[in-house]
C-alpha cells in the first residue's frame, strides 16, 4: 500500500510536474568524476581540470572519493586485479552513475592488447562514453563530458563525425616497361 502510494507520488512528481527535466539538469551540470588513474591518461585529466582548460565550466570537478561522485573516469589499463577494485568502486557509488573509458588501453587493451593480465573495461562495468587516443587530449576529455551531457539530456549528439583519412600508401608511379636489352649471343 505504502509502496504503491510512494510510487504514485514519484510518478506524479516526475511526469505531471515535469520535475524530471529539473533532475536531469541538476545531474548534467554536476558530473563529478572520480579518478581511476592506472596509466598516463591521468596527466591529461589533470590538464583538463587545471586553469587552462578549466573543465569546471561544464560542472566537471575531479573529486577524491567515489561515494561523493557520479562518474568514474577509467584512465588507463585495467588489469584483472584492478578490475575487482573497479567493480567495487562502481558499486559503492550512488545512482545515477556513469563510466567513461579513457584512452586506447581502457577501450581495447591498447599497447597491452595481447597481455595475459589485461581486461576490457566494458566486461567489468557498463561504459557510457569512450575516448579515443593514446593519451587523449584534454579537449577530447571535455568533448566526452559534453557527449555525456547530451546523453543525459536524452538528445543524441553532437557526436563528432569521424574524418575519413586515406592511410593507404600512395601507389608508385607506373614504371616504363623494361626494355628488351640486346643480349650478347653466346659464343
Amino acid at each position: 500500500m505504502l509502496e504503491s502510494l510512494r510510487e504514485r507520488i514519484r510518478r506524479f512528481l516526475l511526469k505531471t510536474l515535469r520535475l524530471e527535466i529539473l533532475f536531469k539538469w541538476g545531474i548534467r551540470w554536476s558530473l563529478w568524476p572520480v579518478h581511476l588513474v592506472t596509466s598516463c591518461c591521468g596527466v591529461e585529466v589533470a590538464h583538463t581540470a587545471g586553469p587552462g582548460f578549466d573543465a569546471e565550466r561544464w560542472g566537471v570537478l575531479p573529486f577524491h572519493t567515489m561515494r561523493q561522485c557520479n562518474v568514474i573516469l577509467v584512465e588507463g589499463t585495467i588489469t584483472r586485479k584492478m578490475a575487482r577494485a573497479l567493480r567495487q568502486v562502481y558499486e559503492q557509488m550512488p545512482e545515477p552513475k556513469y563510466v567513461i573509458a579513457m584512452g586506447a588501453c581502457a577501450a581495447r587493451g591498447g599497447l597491452f592488447w595481447n597481455s595475459y593480465h589485461v581486461v576490457q573495461v566494458d566486461t567489468v562495468v557498463p561504459v557510457e562514453v569512450y575516448i579515443a587516443g593514446c593519451p587523449p587530449t584534454p579537449e577530447a576529455v571535455i568533448r566526452a563530458f559534453i557527449m555525456l551531457h547530451n546523453k543525459i539530456k536524452g538528445r543524441p549528439g553532437p557526436y563528432v563525425e569521424p574524418v575519413r583519412v586515406d592511410i593507404a600508401p600512395p601507389k608508385p608511379p607506373a614504371r616504363p616497361a623494361p626494355q628488351q636489352t640486346q643480349q650478347a649471343p653466346a659464343a
Binding site: 584483472r80 595481447n114 595475459y116 593480465h117 581486461v119
Partner: protein, 177 residues
C-alpha cells in the same frame, strides 16, 4: 623463430672491480665480461650465488637494483641475473655489478638472497611468479604476489602457469580471443 639468443656474458675486458671479485669468490667465477655501459658482469655457478651476494655486500654494494631471469628455451636453461648497485659509497655510484647464474629449466631452484639484501625479496617473489623459479629460503614462495589469484592457472591440472616463460600461450580469455 630463428632469433639468436643473447649472449650469457659480454666479452671480457679489464675492469677495476674484477680483482676484488676474483679475490672474494676464488675459483667460482665461470666467466666474466664488461657490458657496453662499462659494468662488470660475472657468471657464477648457482650454488655460489649467496657467496657472490655476500662478496658484493662486503665490497660496498648496498641494494639489489634488479633481479630477473632470461628464458633460454632452446637450451633448457634459465639465466638468473642479479644487478647490485650502491647509494652510499661515492666510488661505486657509477658502477653496477651484474652477477648471473645458470640453472636448469626443468628444476629451477636457486638459493634466496633476501636475507643478505632485503631489497631482493620483492624481486624474488615477482621472479617466482613470472618464471616459476623456486628461491629456496624465501618464505613467500608459492603465493600470489602480483598476479590475480584466478589468473594464469591451468584449467585441467590446477597448477599455476608462468606467463613470462617463452612457451606460455596467451590464453583465450585475454583480449586477443
Amino acid at each position: 623463430m630463428s632469433a639468436k639468443p643473447p649472449p650469457k656474458c659480454p666479452p671480457p675486458r679489464d675492469h677495476p672491480l674484477l680483482e676484488k671479485v676474483k679475490q672474494a669468490l676464488g675459483g667460482a667465477v665461470l666467466s666474466h665480461g664488461v657490458t657496453p655501459e662499462g659494468h662488470l658482469c660475472v657468471l657464477v655457478p648457482p650454488d655460489k650465488v649467496r657467496e657472490a651476494a655476500t662478496a658484493a655486500r662486503d665490497m660496498g654494494f648496498d641494494h639489489v637494483l634488479s633481479l630477473s631471469a632470461v628464458d633460454y628455451v632452446a637450451e633448457g636453461k634459465f639465466l638468473v641475473t642479479y644487478i647490485f648497485a650502491s647509494y652510499i659509497n661515492p666510488e661505486l655510484r657509477s658502477q653496477l655489478l651484474h652477477i648471473r647464474a645458470e640453472i636448469p629449466r626443468d628444476n629451477p631452484r636457486i638459493a634466496s638472497i633476501a636475507d643478505i639484501f632485503p631489497s631482493a625479496d620483492y624481486d624474488e617473489r615477482e621472479c617466482h611468479e613470472m618464471f616459476g623459479i623456486q628461491f629456496e629460503g624465501n618464505p613467500h614462495m608459492g603465493k600470489r604476489f602480483l598476479l590475480d589469484p584466478d589468473c594464469c592457472i591451468d584449467e585441467r591440472t590446477g597448477k599455476p602457469l608462468y606467463p613470462l616463460r617463452k612457451d606460455f600461450k596467451i590464453p583465450e580469455w585475454s583480449l586477443t580471443g
